[in-house]
């Protein structure tokens, strides 16, 4: 069973919930090696998209939801995360344009386009201690799952799990992009806030998908 508009809307709702719930945690991660606003930024952006979900025209696709999310994040989040996540969702939207229901392959395409969008704008490589370090393993894991025949939901779950591991794995890294890079060696020993928010967002997508399957 593929992931449809209901899933997409649910993903955004659960993402907003997760950003609210982890707002302080993300702020604290960002205080350690950045400027202490990441949780606030993400929460502001996702709260802004919620009311707009109700106005989606009938017949909207997952791609439309992702585009709405992208433009809202771009115009409300600011900072580094706004344009980066905005671009990610915009490219993800483009990768699944017109599709009513996303299968496992579509999930892979969506995630890959998202990751590529972030890299295009931010120029970070894996290992630079940024959100790319959550996105990249997520894309690989999703591809692996899809290739071995997993469902869309399971594929997304694999991506979410890999993102969570990727976020943890940023801890020993020395940052080379974003604000944390100013710290040099002193950035080691702290988790990257953007990688962590990525993990939470993909987990929200997976939860929405598994909820859809079981329903």
């Amino acid at each position: 069973m593929g992931l449809d508009i209901t899933w997409a809307v649910d993903w955004v709702r659960r993402s907003a919930e997760s950003m609210s719930e982890h707002r302080v945690e993300l702020i604290n991660l960002d205080r350690e090696i950045g400027d202490g606003d990441h949780g606030e930024n993400m929460d502001r952006g996702f709260q802004a998209v919620l009311p707009k979900l109700d106005d989606l025209p009938a017949g909207s696709t997952p791609s439309d939801v992702l585009k709405l999310l992208a433009t809202t994040l771009i115009s409300t989040v600011g900072g580094a995360a706004g344009p980066l996540y905005g671009t990610a969702y915009l490219k993800a939207s483009g990768a699944v344009g017109g599709e009513v229901s996303l299968d496992a392959d579509a999930v892979v395409r969506m995630l890959e386009a998202g990751r590529d969008g972030i890299v295009l704008r931010g120029k970070a490589e894996p290992g630079d201690k940024t959100m790319v370090d959550a996105w990249s393993p997520a894309v690989e894991a999703a591809r692996g799952a899809a290739e071995s025949g997993a469902s869309a939901a399971t594929t997304l779950q694999a991506a979410a799990d890999a993102a969570a591991e990727g976020a943890v794995a940023t801890e020993p890294l020395v940052a080379r992009k974003g604000r944390a890079s100013y710290l040099g060696e002193r950035s080691a020993g702290h988790r990257d806030p953007g990688a962590q928010s990525t993990a939470y967002l993909l987990a929200a997508g997976a939860a929405a998908a598994s909820n859809g399957t079981s329903a």
Binding site: R31, D37, S75, G79, L84, Y182
Partner: protein, 333 residues
């Protein structure tokens, strides 16, 4: 956290509203999305200059909107780059037909959001150029980092580029002088105390009763190293030496010496630091032609200071001296 605020989420809105009321002769403030525009914008036949960035660095940038400096300022949330929308709106509002210069401090967020706004403005037929300031020598510049941060030198870029625009220079000329000022400016700062972002509610870092942070950024980002507090003269030496050696500034150079407070530093300490900085320059044969001392680019209530040197040429001096009339910098009219 003790602050003179109401709802932490409304700090920027309410503060900018107060700024608009207090300086109605100088600026007009558009809300939703928020941007501050020179009262007589757009000035026809003049290059427009827009700057912006996270709030919490006041008087930067809104305090520099007015004759001879910025045409618009775009304040984001505290320490968070504004989104492209208000930057675009500001760009449109100040376009007097000669194009618009964006002055952007080198932070990933600022660069990306200004880039997007510039793309959108270009799509609307407005010629935009961006100058990215990156004068902070505290952070090693390298291919493998986000590069140097834009800090206090930004104020000097805004003043001098603003004067060039005011005298009628073309967009290319204004951008060239802005680049030239940035290329000849170097800064480094330190902090005695952290600052607290209103929505975070906790200090951005902690320092022991006898510790200071050398090489601090203007967002409370930790700096180069944490050391035990030293006498002011040693602290000045720790900042000015890397600044001098980076460009480098040499005997016979003419400079503007800018001692900037981080927001919570009393003037008595800034002038005390200035004294030592002037002494060091004198010893090295570097001539102070112009000075600026005060809280001009801040990190909320952080205590600390930064030292900026700008190597001057005749044109820069002329443009520095040109009349300016903004809330925070004013002379000649």
């Amino acid at each position: 956290m003790k602050k003179i605020i109401n709802d932490p989420k409304r700090v920027v809105d309410e503060s900018v509203a107060g700024f608009a009321l207090a300086h109605a002769d100088l600026v007009t403030v558009a809300t939703d999305p928020i941007h501050v525009v020179r009262a007589d914008a757009p000035v026809q036949g003049k290059v427009g200059i827009v700057s912006g960035g996270g709030s919490g660095h006041e008087p930067l940038h809104a305090g520099y909107v007015g004759h001879g400096m910025l045409d618009a300022a775009v304040p984001g949330a505290v320490f968070t780059s504004p989104t492209p929308d208000p930057i675009l709106n500001a760009t449109k509002a100040v376009d007097g037909g000669k194009g618009v210069l964006h002055i952007v401090k080198n932070y990933t967020g600022d660069v990306l959001n200004f880039e997007t706004a510039a793309d959108l403005a270009a799509a609307d037929g407005i010629e935009v150029r961006a100058v990215v300031t990156n004068d902070d020598v505290a952070v090693k510049d390298s291919l493998y980092t986000a590069g140097r941060r834009g800090v206090a030198g930004t104020v000097l870029v805004e003043k001098i580029a603003g004067a060039a625009a005011e005298r009628g220079d073309s967009l290319d000329q204004v951008a060239e002088i802005a680049e030239r000022v940035n290329a000849n400016a170097r800064s480094m700062g330190m902090a005695l105390t952290p600052c607290t972002v209103p929505h975070a509610g906790e200090p951005s870092f902690t320092l022991a009763e006898d510790e200071v942070e050398i090489g601090i950024g203007i967002h409370g980002e930790p700096g180069r190293e944490r050391i035990k507090i030293e006498p002011a003269d040693s602290l000045v030496d720790r900042l000015i030496t890397p600044v001098i050696e980076d460009l480098p500034f040499s005997s016979g150079d003419r400079v503007l010496l800018f001692v900037n407070g981080m927001g919570g530093t009393p003037q008595v300490e800034l002038y005390l630091a200035y004294r030592r900085a002037a002494e060091v320059l004198e010893e090295r044969g570097i001539r102070i032609e112009r000075s600026l001392v005060g809280n001009y680019i801040t990190s909320l209530e952080m205590q600390g200071f930064s030292i900026t040197l700008l190597k001057l040429d005749d044109e820069m001096i002329e443009l520095w001296d040109a009349p300016v009339h903004t809330a925070a910098l004013r002379w000649g009219r």
